[in-house]
């Protein structure tokens, strides 16, 4: 007697390879069992049948090619079950694959895109408003304060505040001016949105990967994770790969054409590396990437908090 189980159920075959007994899986069975398949554990239905029939060989854990080929001949009647059960299990697997670190990747992506949109729209706003008061555009260098003043104040008030006597700009009707002001207030909303997302990101990072946040800072840490793809992928990377995340183009040019090798990728944004001398930047980023790699591994496998120690080790070296 032989026992065989796959995604559609558990079967008992007699010596002539005919089905003696079968348990087809329902959806709730699959929900409980699909992880056991991957880890080659004993299923509940297998246990039940192993108790019922004493002299039996489990072909799943103890395979035999000749017997299995006969089993598969019988199995090919069950195309419909294969279709439905695999579809269901795949859906469950996709559900499992959505982890907290993917939220970080999405959030940092939206922060970066908000930054880009703000810059793009601010440029347009400056060009547009220069028809009204070109002098103010020169004085207010910061995008945020520029948009803030324009959204609130009228051109006359701005002229008074900045002590302008004549202007190169033309007078605008109320309707034309309203169009510019609307754009300015949209940009201000985007600034608010970006700030909100950054606060959320900081909370999320501190919760899911405290060690990485401590060593790399929440923004740099999140950017590294976004380039790697997920926390899991980053854990499997060696420190030297983490050091060069974000410098892929330079790295491959080095490999193909023999240009100079890059020393750092996105990691250069870290304040520690910004601070050290130029000649030490390569060394510092190597040391920091090393600690980041350790920190990420602690976070993924839920170890003790060691972030402050790791951070101190790098900081002591480059003082």
């Amino acid at each position: 007697m032989y026992l065989y189980s796959n995604i559609i159920g558990t079967f008992v075959f007699n010596q002539n390879m005919q089905i003696r007994e079968k348990i087809l899986f329902s959806k709730s069975d699959l929900k409980n069992n699909y992880k056991k398949f991957q880890e080659n554990e004993l299923l509940n239905s297998e246990e039940k049948l192993l108790k019922k029939f004493k002299k039996i060989r489990n072909l799943r854990t103890d395979p035999d090619e000749k017997l299995l080929s006969k089993v598969f001949l019988v199995m090919s009647e069950y195309d419909k079950e294969f279709y439905e059960n695999n579809l269901y299990v795949t859906k469950l697997q996709i559900k499992d694959s959505i982890t907290q670190d993917l939220l970080i990747v999405q959030t940092i992506g939206s922060v970066n895109e908000l930054k880009k949109s703000i810059n793009l729209l601010s440029k347009r706003l400056r060009e547009w408003y220069s028809y009204v008061l070109p002098e103010v555009e020169e004085i207010l260098y910061d995008h945020f304060s520029f948009a803030e003043r324009i959204a609130v104040d009228s051109p006359e008030k701005l002229m008074k505040d900045f002590k302008l006597k004549i202007t190169m700009g033309r007078e605008f009707s109320k309707e034309d001016l309203a169009a510019i002001k609307n754009l300015a207030s949209t940009i201000l909303d985007l600034f608010d949105e970006k700030q909100e997302k950054e606060d959320y990101l900081e909370k999320l990072m501190e919760k899911t990967c405290p060690n990485l946040t401590e060593v790399a800072g929440f923004l740099t840490g999140a950017k590294l994770m976004a380039i790697a793809g997920s926390l899991r992928k980053m854990v499997m990377m060696p420190a030297s790969t983490i050091q060069l995340l974000g410098a892929e183009k330079a790295l491959f040019m080095h490999m193909i054409k023999g240009t100079k090798s890059p020393k750092h990728g996105i990691i250069i944004e870290h304040p520690l590396i910004q601070r050290v001398d130029r000649k030490d930047k390569g060394k510092a980023s190597r040391a920091l990437a090393d600690k980041i790699s350790i920190a990420v591994k602690i976070d993924f496998f839920k170890g003790e908090f060691l972030g402050d120690k790791l951070r101190k080790q790098v900081e002591d070296r480059f003082r």
């Binding site: 398949f37 991957q38 080659n40 294969f82 279709y83 695999n86 579809l87 795949t90 996709i94």
Partner: protein, 225 residues
């Protein structure tokens, strides 16, 4: 418009101004999955198969002598991605055939699930092609193994899966991406390396370089004894 049947079953081709276009008959008329061109003729619907998006189509246009794909067969597709090529496989094997489409990344399998819900001869699997044991209990022995994964050990993964799941006499198709094996070496050198690895365990039937449809790619057709 004239569609005629070349040596590949259920694959139709038409001579256009810019070379040959390939078509398959749509299994689910009225549903378009990607932005492919749809042609209606004598009450039947055909979907255009773009050789720049699918390596198998590129191989057919480059003149592969045979692919071994016939209606009613079971196929294991490794590296299914969004399901562009699998959808044409599903047209070719028809309602009697069956396709197990596997990919590693949850993001693309999500798209694949929507395709599979509309076609009942193709089922999605989320798993690692490098570890056949993890999905062995979810599939059956197959007549065709098609592999298109961008991994460094493509040849080894392919042989592993052929040994485990391919029936004897079945065909295997391997799309090799030389850039993901070694970026510094010349593509032809890599193709030769793959050939020596394959020849040790399996018979090579045909080999074509996929330029200009795919750069630095080639396709091997093998047969299991």
């Amino acid at each position: 418009m004239r569609l005629y049947n070349p040596k590949f079953q259920n694959v139709f081709s038409e001579k256009g101004k810019r070379g040959i276009k390939l078509y398959t008959e749509n299994l689910t008329p009225g549903i378009q999955y990607f932005d492919e061109e749809i042609v209606r003729e004598k009450g039947k619907e055909y979907r255009q198969w773009d050789a720049r998006r699918s390596k198998l189509a590129a191989g057919i246009l480059k003149g592969l002598s045979q692919t071994g794909i016939k209606p009613g067969q079971k196929v294991l597709y490794l590296g299914a991605s969004h399901g562009y090529t699998p959808s044409f496989f599903s047209d070719i094997v028809g309602r009697q055939g069956f396709i197990f489409a596997l990919d590693f990344a949850p993001r693309v399998v999500r798209d694949l699930v929507f395709l599979c819900e509309k076609r009942n001869n193709i089922t999605p699997l989320l798993g690692d092609a490098n570890q056949p044991k993890t999905f062995a209990s979810r599939i059956l022995p197959v007549d065709i193994v098609y592999m298109d994964v961008a991994q460094k050990n493509q040849a080894e993964i392919f042989l592993k899966n052929c040994n485990m799941f391919l029936k004897s006499g079945g065909f295997g198709l391997l799309a090799v991406k030389s850039r993901s094996i070694d970026i510094t070496k010349r593509p032809k050198q890599i193709f030769q390396q793959v050939r020596t690895k394959l020849e040790k365990e399996i018979t090579i039937v045909d080999y074509k370089i996929l330029d200009p449809f795919e750069r630095d790619h080639c396709m091997y057709v093998v047969k299991k004894n």
